[in-house]
Symmetry: C2
Subunit: 376 residues, 2 copies
Amino acid sequence: MPVTIRDVARASGVHISTVSRTFSAPHLVNPETRVRVLACAEDLGYRPNRAARALITGRTHNIGLIIADIANPFFPPLIKAAESQARHRDYHVFVADTNEDAAAEEELVHALAKQVDGVLLCSPRMSNSLIEQLSREVPLVVVNRQLAGLPCVLMDVGQGARSAIEHLVGLGHREIALLGGPRGSWTSRELRRAASAAARAAGADLTVLGPNPPTESGGLAQAEQVRRAGVTAVLAYNDLMAIGLLEGLDALGVRVPQEVSVVGVDDISLSRLTRPKLTTVATPTAAAGRTAVDMLLQQDTELPRTGRGSGAAVAVGVRRTTAQVMLQTELVIRDSTGPGPYAGRERPGATAAGPGPHRRADPGGPTVAAGDVVAS
Amino acid sequence: MPVTIRDVARASGVHISTVSRTFSAPHLVNPETRVRVLACAEDLGYRPNRAARALITGRTHNIGLIIADIANPFFPPLIKAAESQARHRDYHVFVADTNEDAAAEEELVHALAKQVDGVLLCSPRMSNSLIEQLSREVPLVVVNRQLAGLPCVLMDVGQGARSAIEHLVGLGHREIALLGGPRGSWTSRELRRAASAAARAAGADLTVLGPNPPTESGGLAQAEQVRRAGVTAVLAYNDLMAIGLLEGLDALGVRVPQEVSVVGVDDISLSRLTRPKLTTVATPTAAAGRTAVDMLLQQDTELPRTGRGSGAAVAVGVRRTTAQVMLQTELVIRDSTGPGPYAGRERPGATAAGPGPHRRADPGGPTVAAGDVVAS
DNA sequence: TACTTCACTGCAAAGGTTTGCACAAAGATC
DNA sequence: GATCTTTGTGCAAACCTTTGCAGTGAAGTA
């Protein structure tokens, strides 16, 4: 019943190899023959069997996309962009959800390895060493984690944290809390590092609360702690937690931004819809999805696979090109941040250390410039 | 480099067919041999090549999931549930996004057809006849659309609309607007049909506004119309539109629920986070994803495929089992609905037509009971 | 003892495609 | 007009696995 290359060959009176070439190497076949074959194929509704093709070429034209939690609104735009980009290049995308579980991640990489040309690992919870080990099994591109020797797509949350802290300090806040993210998250560590440094540089105190689950309830659960900590501003690991915190503070009768200012990270679409609208560090999630697919596919076309004539070639020139891309973030100021107790007064560090509220203290952040591609 | 069944055979001193059977028909191989083979396979890190397996068995152990818009928060829970359910049964899921475009849908079904054992079509925008035609190419399960002769997973939005209208009328509203969804949406038609009937039965007027894009901005854009229509309550096609409407009304200075009550459909997680919290008809999206996968896989195991010994068998007993499942919806009352102008007065239709506010008028709705599975 | 049954394993074909090589015919070069 | 390219096509092997059939012993039966 399913129409194969053989049916097309019979219908157009050529050998199957000619049909094959009509699709995979059109320049090798006579234009007249080509149109005839194409017409027959169209007629019969022929579609090449990708499994058979994969078997011999060693490329499946599939990629795997491993996500910590599809239901987390941070990811869908990334998934959407990655799928779209992949499809433009004639790749299909397996999407898999790990429920934030490192063991599930590992198992999924194994399960997918034979079936895809590469895997996008988004916000992994695994250890670095495990990721490196897995990368020997299947080409990997990591999103939201920096790993030497592996292609990574990063969002410059460090810069975002600095902007956020400076924004808050500029508004007159000196006692700031950071709501940490989940254990094992590179983003969370990076955020903490940059926020601490920025707070120190600006003469503010930073209290770290966490780790927390990166969810609304994770933020809600910390509302009481936030109030008790006596801070006047909070930077949350992500918007979901920030929104949960908004809920929690509301329930406690704490007004935002009059009593406490709140800043999120991600700029999920939801953050425009809360009351007050959330001030947040926008991360370019769709761009990250696109970029990650591009990097994976570029790597894929460079490396030869199991095809017939391989063998020695792999051992010789394998030197992988491991680019790392850092995407820019941007502070989006909305209504959840307002003046703090020191509003209008001179900032403690400002006169001594820099040119004013928009000074960019950069105490040892990532050296990769925003938007740059650096091969290593 | 990649380890094949042959490597395992060599290592364990048996023929490759024995290795194959160790995995696909363990009861046919001597327990001692089996453990030896398994040990070798484990050692070498062997994973069967699914492309090769697909080639001969005719089943890929993949399914396709075609979604109108991944970024629409209605879908991620469905995707997540479907993926999880599929994985439990050793299937992987291709996710593809159509951007609400019917042509893209068709193309995707074609593209995926050869590569999957079946496709889940979620909230399709295609015509019924096209869907039926495509279903001859690859097994299909349709979500959110009723099609005779095809397995469908439906949410009882009709019941939901009735509950919503009755809730509003019970609160004293008589002039109600329905914000329609996108053209081609079965859910939108169904909603409209049931809401009209329910409004008529309860003696209220229903104004239909639309069709609209099923997004926040789609709802926002209708705020002005809603005010001009002079209604005191609105039922929106989905939560996203309802939330957009909330925004729009707020911008116009119309207070919710004091001046206008708003009801959404879906109960996306976001609807708990707006101010006021949204009253909505909860649809069981995760259950729909699970159910759809189950139905597809059940159908899949029933129908034989291209395998060696097929042939006549297909022609004989092909009679597809096309179950249709209707999942129950539930009205969740939150803060966006409040008393209307007729609050406290006697309802016009109530005394004449039924037993009171929770009467269930059912003027020609679907005959399939909620939660029932009906083979046709 | 001779025969059947049974459990296990090996053999080889098949599935749809790609691709290196060989070959033929036509055109180019001298 | 003989040789060399070029262009287009066919041939057949290879990719990795599954599976019907046949074969081998050993155990059970008469």
